[in-house]
Symmetry: C2
Subunit: 343 residues, 2 copies
Amino acid sequence: MEDNNNKIRIALDAMGGNFAPLNEIEGAVLAYKEKSEILDITLVGEGKLIEQHLKKIGFINNFNIIDAEDIVTMEDSPSDSYKNKPKSSMRIGLELQSNGKSDAFVSAGNTGAVLANSTLSLGKIEGISRPTIGTPMPSLKGGYSMLFDVGASVDCKSRHLFEFAVMGSVYMNYVLNIPNPRVGLLNIGEEENKGNEVTVKAYEILKNSKINFIGNVEGDDILCGKVDVAVCDGYTGNIVLKFAESVIEILKYKFKEYASRNLKNKIWIGMFRNTLRKILKEFDYQNYGGVPLLGVNGVAIIGHGKSTSFAIKNMIFRAVDMVKKNVNNKIKTEINSYLNNNK
Amino acid sequence: MEDNNNKIRIALDAMGGNFAPLNEIEGAVLAYKEKSEILDITLVGEGKLIEQHLKKIGFINNFNIIDAEDIVTMEDSPSDSYKNKPKSSMRIGLELQSNGKSDAFVSAGNTGAVLANSTLSLGKIEGISRPTIGTPMPSLKGGYSMLFDVGASVDCKSRHLFEFAVMGSVYMNYVLNIPNPRVGLLNIGEEENKGNEVTVKAYEILKNSKINFIGNVEGDDILCGKVDVAVCDGYTGNIVLKFAESVIEILKYKFKEYASRNLKNKIWIGMFRNTLRKILKEFDYQNYGGVPLLGVNGVAIIGHGKSTSFAIKNMIFRAVDMVKKNVNNKIKTEINSYLNNNK
């Protein structure tokens, strides 16, 4: 390895995604090729396999390898995975960070397990009681808004929604460079008294905070560019996220089915394929590359199980950004300034 | 008026939708033309205006008119509308039913107000504590599934989700003719112990009921044809519904925007317009025509504010179906058989 002073140390779970370790290794290589001067990547997983592949493609001298004998699978129970698989690539990758040997962790593995392992290995930021996972939603006006929470925390109190708003706001501001991001509370109507008990109380807290709170927003406001950060409990957010992902799949299927009905349709859809692809592209998570787990005392980036090497590369860059911009310190300051004001 | 024995008596809120009373009157005429032998329609609203228009189009002798001096607007608070506007077309239309002078009520007005006025005017079915509003979702395999609840009840206990499942199941079976409908509990994972406190308890109740309960389903299962009835609290359901409606609008906008970039794109999209329209048509609520408010002691069909006369016609036919098939009696039997088993 070269001299690593001032480099950002990324631990990559090489066994995470559905196409591990291939896509992970190739993703690491893509990232390295682009930003070798700032990257110090450690691949954690089946050492021999990783070594073999790196040798084959001629990059054996550019990465660290740490052997991990176990793998957290998509079927593993998130809550048990930490205890039952202490030698998993996930836990070992995260413990590098809690031991000060790494700055960030990246995984395309079991989302719930990354959440559980990260929270247990890294702990939580002071003042944050519930970590959160956000997801980008394409905006009508270009760019993305972010939806928090999409499944990290399913039983939420108003205080938790407020924490999501603070974390989402900081992320949007410092990582995605949207100054003074507009935060909306996802609800069933715009009026202050709308919604369930939790949202009514959350409205009150948000209104009196320093957040740029624009009030309640509805389901049809998520994509239309009205907000930069939309906040809801993880049960609702997860259902909206999975529903959204399925819509694009359904549309693609419908177009295919239409094409299959007769030759005329087939030619028709065939002619239009590239245009369709261009229009649907913005809805593709691959371009985005991973979502942050916010609220843990460290950096963890979670990717889709289907992540391509291109997505893995973007996840690594996302992690670099999180470290460089010191997002956690900003979250800590923001949440504690609120706590101090409300003592 | 002709002899009305054995006809189904529909009270139509002529002042409900955004294009009232025009679309309402024209919709009533469309329904009458198609099924005059079974329909006895009363238009409730601004009497003179309705009379004038019916005369103009030559249908003055085919409908009853009841004058109502007030209108519930889209801006009115649902909870206050009953008390504050006792002479609204909505309340008068519903009271015809509670007084035994009508069999069903149809309105494209303020959804929350129809819910509140119906519950207060008609009362609830014995054994049902929370009425529910469902919405059709197009299914990948053709036809529709239904999502309950989409906003009638935002703070739900497990018992309420069970009630939605019973009502949804009966509606799907008897009105939409899907025998033994598959009911899924909307959740963030398939395993029995997934979700928030409410869904975990609801799973337990549903598992032990006579409902054809297929277990937890996720957000991406709604459109894929895995369930006939998907159940969740009204907060989540409302957000999913509005999100879904917005996706189609966004796609239409994206196609338009793409077309506007240059002449080539414009010609391209123009050529493809009809195909697109055909494919997106299934997502169009107009074809469906109104959703039932289930759980009230009577029949109330709610339509979109933007309902066309075609949608109003379909809403009237939906109401006829609800009456003919005696849906409420079936709900009563189902829910009470459960209550008796669990005494």
